[in-house]
């Protein structure tokens, strides 16, 4: 599947507190409302200005901190196609794949704010349409590709009644 959208650039070490702040803890039971505040503490205008299908493009260690799955959930609910970063924090990485939010590890220095991007997860390439360049993706482990293809871990377990990953 090919996904197209605009890049929204963020820096290094974007934490789950930036993405889904603790002060909005009470919105964890109302994710569509929480999604209106996604990444608010990193960029207060982001949720208002982004469009459906856009990409979050960050530096290293995206999603560090808490295990709150609400962080990738509200990114997905807000309508982000995928998150691209130089690296991801471990728990965020698992959580995003588990809920079916694609993550793309690549050299995000090759992308500027507002660039038009085209993501093809199958052949492992991000096309930067604005700069007319191809960016290579670090492939996901097979286990994670299986989870993503089944639509997330809960759906995988629902389908097989057990883990059928390894």
């Amino acid at each position: 599947m090919i996904k197209k959208g605009k890049a929204w650039k963020f820096g290094n070490d974007i934490s789950t507190d930036h993405i889904a702040p603790g002060r909005l803890f009470h919105l964890r039971s109302n994710l569509p409302e929480f999604a209106k505040h996604v990444l608010e503490d990193a960029d207060s205008q982001f949720a208002k200005n982004m469009s459906l299908g856009d990409f979050i493009v960050a530096g290293s260690n995206f999603g560090l901190g808490s295990s709150r799955e609400h962080a990738p959930q509200i990114i997905k609910i807000a309508g982000i196609n995928a998150v691209m970063a130089k690296s991801f924090a471990r728990i965020f990485f698992r959580n995003a794949i588990n809920i079916g939010l694609p993550l793309v590890e690549c050299n995000t220095d090759l992308i500027n704010q507002g660039d038009e991007l085209e993501l093809n997860l199958e052949n492992g390439v991000v096309k930067n349409l604005t700069q007319n360049s191809d960016i290579k993706i670090t492939p996901l482990p097979d286990v994670m590709i299986k989870i993503l293809n089944d639509g997330g871990l809960a759906k995988h377990i629902e389908k097989y009644g057990d883990f059928k990953l390894i």
């Binding site: 070490d13 934490s15 507190d17 930036h18 702040p21 603790g22 002060r23 803890f25 009470h26 919105l27 964890r28 039971s29 109302n30 503490d41 290293s60 260690n61 560090l64 901190g65 808490s66 295990s67 709150r68 799955e69 609400h70 959930q73 690296s87 924090a89 471990r90 728990i91 698992r94 959580n95 588990n98 809920i99 482990p141 286990v143 997330g152 871990l153 809960a154 759906k155 377990i157 629902e158 057990d162 883990f163 990953l165 390894i166």
Partner: protein
């Protein structure tokens, strides 16, 4: 070929000879959620018709992050957890019983076991020689329902620490120093193993502080071999029979080895807004503190409160500073009452709050005002962590925090601590 602690434990639980890099499905002994992650966990497994607990007596639901509840939405989330516990026969840890990580270590996790918890600081129990790691609601939900989890066996970084700390320097200073050294992503996807003479002589309380913060370097686990000190701790908690010796082989393969001389460390501080933004206390001049917070799963144990009380005894908190003290669990609170530490805090002008997470998560009990500075013994200082993105959080040991509460500025506890504590 020799194995690291994590290779040994996961290998045993997946019935395979495993090495770093392998993927396995392993059985899980203990599962845990808290009130921030538990309701979503329950919702996820309900959706797929798996509202069940494979091992109900080792499935614990903790109400600790927003406890007592400050809002009706959170009260309703707590109700969902209570109902699930009742329906499945799982254990509920109620308001006031304490932070999940402290409670898991006190009463539930044993050496050689696997704990999967929906909270990033689940790695705390690694100090018992267990494989304990944090995951999200879906992973933990499936682990609760089926008693299994998929894992990639991480490579291990060995941290060897030798010699004695100077008076006024503690495990908290060591772990902040290490995170400053390797960075907030210095151990991403990897495990840390702490060893060396300093660790072998270290109390369980200080060991928990080290393992607790492994995730702040990105690590999946922070493991310490189990020994006589672990056994004594288990005996003190009434489960000495659960002791098992867990240690790495001498010829285990490590991704990297880092050696630290504990005697050279100084009281260390993480400055806003990342944990790896560290410096030593003597380099910070004129940082005025509006709030000091002593507590959390990192440093809210009885040993931490004893250190703080020894500094605050007969003294007063600076008039320009608020001091909040939150015991990590009811057991800690009760012990602190017996030892009259709470009297010392109250007389010094501190506020004592319900055992639990306190203001660490930014939900209640001490949210910072704009431009306010907090010195906290917690594990994280991210922007917005304590409820206000315009607040500034510094991290330190309980000794540095207690002395700074008296002076009103971030201050060096070596000025008042003259003898070594382990």
């Amino acid at each position: 070929m020799g194995k690291t602690i994590i290779e040994k434990i996961i290998g045993e639980y997946s019935n395979k000879d495993v090495i770093a890099g392998d993927f396995v499905v392993a059985k899980v002994d203990v599962t845990a959620v808290q009130d921030g992650t538990g309701p979503l966990t329950i919702e996820e497994i309900k959706k797929i018709g798996l509202e069940q607990a494979k091992n109900p007596l080792r499935t614990i639901l903790f109400i600790d992050h927003a406890a007592p509840s400050p809002r009706k939405e959170l009260s309703n989330s707590h109700k969902i957890m209570r109902e699930f516990a009742k329906k499945t026969g799982s254990i509920l840890s109620e308001v006031g019983e304490g932070v999940c990580h402290q409670r898991l270590a006190e009463d539930y996790v044993n050496p050689g076991e696997i704990l999967i918890g929906a909270d990033s600081h689940t790695c705390t129990s690694g100090a018992l020689g267990a494989f304990a790691t944090g995951m999200g609601s879906t992973d933990v939900g499936i682990a609760i329902a089926l008693g299994k989890v998929w894992l990639k066996i991480p490579e291990t970084i060995k941290i060897i620490v030798n010699n004695e700390f100077q008076p006024g320097v503690y495990a908290k200073d060591l772990i902040l120093h290490l995170i400053g050294l390797i960075g907030a992503d210095g151990a991403t996807y990897k495990a840390l193993e702490f060893t060396g003479k300093t660790i072998k002589n270290m109390s369980m309380s200080n060991r928990f502080t080290l393992s607790n913060m492994a995730v702040e370097a990105g690590a999946k686990a922070g493991l310490i071999e189990s020994d006589e000190i672990t056994e004594k701790y288990l005996i003190s908690r009434g489960r000495g029979e659960k002791f098992k010796k867990i240690k790495a082989d001498n010829d285990a393969i490590y991704e990297k080895v880092i050696e630290i001389d504990a005697s050279k460390l100084k009281p260390t501080i993480s400055c806003p807004h990342t944990v790896d933004n560290t410096t030593t206390v003597d380099k910070l001049k004129d940082v005025k503190v509006d709030q000091v917070f002593i507590g959390t799963c990192t440093n809210g144990r009885i040993e931490d409160l004893r250190v703080a009380a020894s500094i605050l005894k007969g003294k007063k908190v600076n008039p320009g500073t608020r001091l909040l003290v939150v015991p990590a669990s009811k057991n800690v609170f009760s012990q602190a009452l017996k030892e009259e530490l709470i009297d010392i805090f109250v007389e010094a002008g501190a506020v004592i709050m319900t055992p639990g997470c306190g203001p660490c998560v930014g939900v209640h009990c001490g949210i910072l005002g704009d431009d306010e500075v907090c010195l906290a013994t917690q594990n994280r200082n991210f922007q917005g962590r304590m409820g206000n993105p315009k607040g500034y959080i510094y991290l330190s040991s309980p000794a540095t925090a207690a002395y700074s509460a008296i002076t009103g500025y971030i201050s060096d506890p070596r000025q008042v601590i003259k003898s070594v504590a382990v």
